[in-house]
Symmetry: C2
Subunit: 326 residues, 2 copies
């Protein structure tokens, strides 16, 4: 896993993935106490950065693999990214999703042409389901983060951040990334190591699901006690990946922890000040920049907005609770 | 008023105004029955295209005028655009606003450093207020649409649309523009006449405030019967402008009329499918593309999203009423 793979993925993604804008607002600068920039990956195709990894992986397969089809497991964003990338490559996708994933994500994955297989997160073993399906049909597994081509795709976001920040006169900053298994975080960190070495990547996780922050402290891959109990479904993973953790360890940290309520509050800020729809997990980095400014150093902070696939009732909840505190 | 003024404005805006993205979604294509693109001017600085006109006008003043300051009247979007442009040019702005404008717009205008003067739309004459203030303090009036430099600034949106559509393989399309006094519409029409002559501009207005559509039919500047009674506050003007109407007559039409409910429904679609926050008036063109497809010709439609400055309760209303019909 290296910067050349990210550069190669960028070439394969050109003209297919969106170059999402790097946005800012004087109102958010004031709350954050420094210049704040937001990389709006909620505006990526399928509403999250996951399309980059999906496209990168599908475009790296050989013809026989594409013809046989792919399989992925995901609560929704990786699902949609792989589904659309598979359709665009003339392949087919089977997506294994937890039955309690947001309805909007399940519906959109089906509408993008994928076959969705639901399972009960509490009682069923997704790994067994997946392996049976993969073996039975000869499907290629597209891992959500522990896959070099997926990480390479997510890393293209980092190449864009370096470029766009430079255009805005910023070469030194902390870069806050919404972090689940670490594919997005490690990809961005590798890209910035090469293109903007004065930037430091900080993984941001929801309270009680801080496996990456704890792993960075202990030096080994820690496991979360639970896999549900946060509204940040997009960035809940059991533990850092085998491929991602060494990269996170070498380049990232320390981790930043935010609460679900802070994510809802950040969603309301993004609504009012940036005119963007973020999902709770996609607002974690912005929440870190706004509400953990004492843990951040320097005059500029760049946050990723990893996704915007949120059901209407959850968005209404953010506006009801925080619409008058923005 | 000509294309050269728009090109000159584009040079003055470079590095200051955002080049907003042209977005699309396969889900919206399906509803519209053709390829649909949306120019996301809600992501412009201050949350609407009005920043372009404000910057264009301020940057065209001489030093003495900038030092004396400017005055504008606006329900909110022009207000914020002029306020931020004035502050960035080291000038000062007095903004005359109706007291029933959305609170978010009044607050943001003040926060951007402008002096806000409120008046009662029903009982007070804004023209008299404005003229008294302008005369007393030697302020330069920045008209919201009947001002050549303002139109030139808004027209830069059209130059970008032509470029971005060409990159997407589109040279022929109907271009739907949210239309109040016609500054945005006429500026875009002039730009496209020069850069994309196979595109036709269609003004979109709210029901009962269709002065432009009626004027295009009758050949003279018709007046709206009322100035309130629609949630589309951003695009309610008494009649087409003196400068804008001849341009609209030569290049645009016929007009498209949408209801307030259709604008709310379009806001819910933009939320779910594009992850964008639109205000009711800013969603009018999208509503036209989605719900008036029988009045539109050709295989592609491009709609402008003119702004996203909406209070939380109005956005929640859109999601409550239409969140399950998207």
């Amino acid at each position: 896993m290296n910067i050349e793979m990210i550069r190669a993925a960028q070439k394969r993604l050109e003209g297919h993935a969106r170059r999402t804008p790097l946005l800012s607002s004087p109102f958010l600068d004031e709350v954050a106490g420094r210049r704040l920039f937001l990389k709006a990956e909620n505006l990526q195709h399928t509403g999250s950065f996951k399309f980059r990894g999906g496209w990168s992986a599908l475009s790296a397969l050989d013809d026989a693999q594409r013809k046989a089809g792919v399989i992925a497991f995901s609560s929704g964003n990786h699902a949609q990214g792989v589904a659309l990338a598979a359709r665009a490559h003339g392949s087919t996708a089977v997506i294994v999703m937890p039955s309690n994933a947001p309805q909007t994500k399940i519906d959109a994955t089906r509408a993008l042409g994928a076959e969705v297989v639901l399972y009960d997160r509490a009682t069923e073993d997704r790994k067994a389901i997946r392996q049976a399906l993969a073996a039975e049909r000869g499907l290629t597994l597209i891992e959500p983060f522990d896959n070099a081509q997926v990480i390479a795709g997510q890393g293209t976001t980092g190449l864009e951040i370096a470029d766009q920040a430079r255009d805005a006169g910023i070469t030194s900053a902390e870069v806050l990334v919404c972090c689940g298994g670490g594919g997005f975080t490690s990809g961005i960190a590798l890209a910035l190591e090469a293109e903007a070495p004065d930037m430091r990547v900080r993984p941001v996780e929801p309270k009680n699901f801080d496996d990456v922050a704890r792993s960075l402290r202990s030096g080994q891959r820690e496991i979360n006690a639970a896999m549900s109990g946060s509204i940040c479904d997009a960035i809940i993973s059991p533990q850092p990946g085998e491929i991602t953790f060494p990269i996170l360890q070498r380049l990232c940290g320390p981790g930043i922890i935010v609460t679900d309520d802070e994510c809802l509050h950040a969603m309301a800020y993004a609504f009012a000040r940036l005119k963007l729809v973020l999902e709770p997990g996609g607002a974690a980095a912005l929440a870190g920049a706004l509400f953990r400014s004492d843990e951040i150093k320097g005059e500029a902070v760049i946050c990723t907005a990893s996704g915007g696939n949120v059901d209407a009732p959850m968005f209404q909840r953010a506006l009801s609770e925080y619409g008058d505190q923005i």
